[in-house]
Symmetry: C2
Subunit: 232 residues, 2 copies
DNA sequence: AATATAAAAGTAAAAATTACTTTTAAAAAT
DNA sequence: ATTTTTAAAAGTAATTTTTACTTTTATATT
């Protein structure tokens, strides 16, 4: 146990957890990984992936630890979403939770691990009721993902190495729950110059075939171009 | 002390605090209120307004409590910014802090209370080094304030009841640290239809005089118009 | 060789942004 | 009483971006 000169305030100590909203993209659908909760209360009900923030650990460390244990993956894209601290939010006790969303590539290797945990991928419209305030957390994560997707071309962590523009557009359709115009989407994305066209084509979706693209390497410290435009 | 079925995880309990970045606007300058820290470590150094999150309290409750104690004000605009949890961030012990920014109207009444606390308003460019990671917290709060200001006309909580467009523009100049074009700013703001022009003019700044404006009442659940425009 | 398909390119109108110039209202100076 | 001065307010035109489309293209299939 680490000592602290704040120990006189001991009664202010709180349980602190992390909760992760895990997004994946598979079969043209944005999906969300949820779990059957392992401890009481609400044991067995659907829940986000959570865990305690251990002593000597930051909340982001904790999120990476639980995600790594689940998926075996090392370099997971994480973004902090919000902190929920209503003392009544968890009927089991007063727990502050720091929320993150994670973007992961759904692959067979990770899938095996995931199954061991009784986890399941759901599309947004199939998502079941979750414990506590977790459905609200999902909404918040979606908002944040949309904001992020509006500032840079998201997909590095959701799409395979090479992908077609149609597939990227479908991902955006899924994230924003709307249909982007194919021509305008293409024009916009290519104008940002963050993708590189490969010589190879994907012939599975059309007779003409669609060129594969990949992300150009992200330069150190460089943000992708904003796609939002400030108008003031 | 409230009981919890999580008590077996007692060793996971952490100190949780809030820190508030307090923005005010006075004499055509965006200012920031900082404090001389009252407890060790770093007692006497400049610091954000902070406090413990008490048992039975949410972090937002805690932020409102410390802000109310400081200013006497009740309805302070608060937005959660980020949670910092590096166990090394506070040399006095492992403390997770939930950061908020607050917008307050600088008035004489509040100023008296504020002085009792050894607090001082600084402009952005005069801001002294702060303890721990607090300068980083200020940067984060500014980013969030800029984002917010890009989505709605901020100022309800920073400007007096009636104000000129020149004054609003100056506030935006301060927030974004750039000079907005007077004509284009006026055109843009008025097109959003969130302001109402009063009959009265402010004659102190020009011979022609500038009309006062006030915010139209914010309809329940209604956001102000986005000023950012999504371009994808 | 013709057909079918989605990909890719192209187009033109509308809207928004930007960088300016001109006009205006009223106080102050002449 | 007229002119001057000032920032406010209105106006303008070029440019850029967005939007809603249409046309052309490359290639597998018929």
């Amino acid at each position: 146990m680490n000592t602290s000169i704040y120990d006189q305030y001991q009664e202010n100590k709180r349980f602190v957890s992390v909760d992760c909203v895990i997004f994946g993209y598979e079969e043209e659908k944005l999906k969300l990984l949820v779990f059957q909760r392992a401890i009481e209360p609400s044991k067995g009900e659907w829940s986000l992936l959570g865990g305690w923030v251990n002593a000597g650990e930051s909340s982001e460390d904790a999120a990476r630890r639980v995600l790594n244990k689940l998926t075996g993956l090392q370099d997971i894209y994480l973004e902090q979403v919000h902190t929920f601290s209503d003392p009544e939010r968890d009927p089991g006790g007063s727990v502050i939770t720091v929320e993150y969303y994670a973007l992961i590539k759904i692959d067979a290797k990770a899938s095996n691990l995931i199954e061991d945990y009784g986890a399941k991928w759901f599309t947004l419209d199939e998502l079941p009721p979750l414990i506590f305030d977790h459905n609200i957390l999902v909404e918040k994560a979606l908002e944040k993902l949309r904001l992020r997707s509006s500032y840079e071309i998201i997909g590095r962590k959701l799409l395979p190495e090479k992908f077609t523009l149609t597939r990227l557009r479908n991902l955006y359709d899924q994230i924003f729950q709307k249909q982007f115009d194919p021509g305008n989407f293409r024009k916009k994305i290519l104008s940002l110059k963050v993708l590189e066209r490969l010589e190879e084509k994907d012939m599975s979706e059309s007779k003409k075939g669609a060129f594969y693209f990949k992300f150009k390497p992200k330069k150190e410290g460089e943000f992708n171009h904003p796609i939002f435009k400030r108008t003031i």
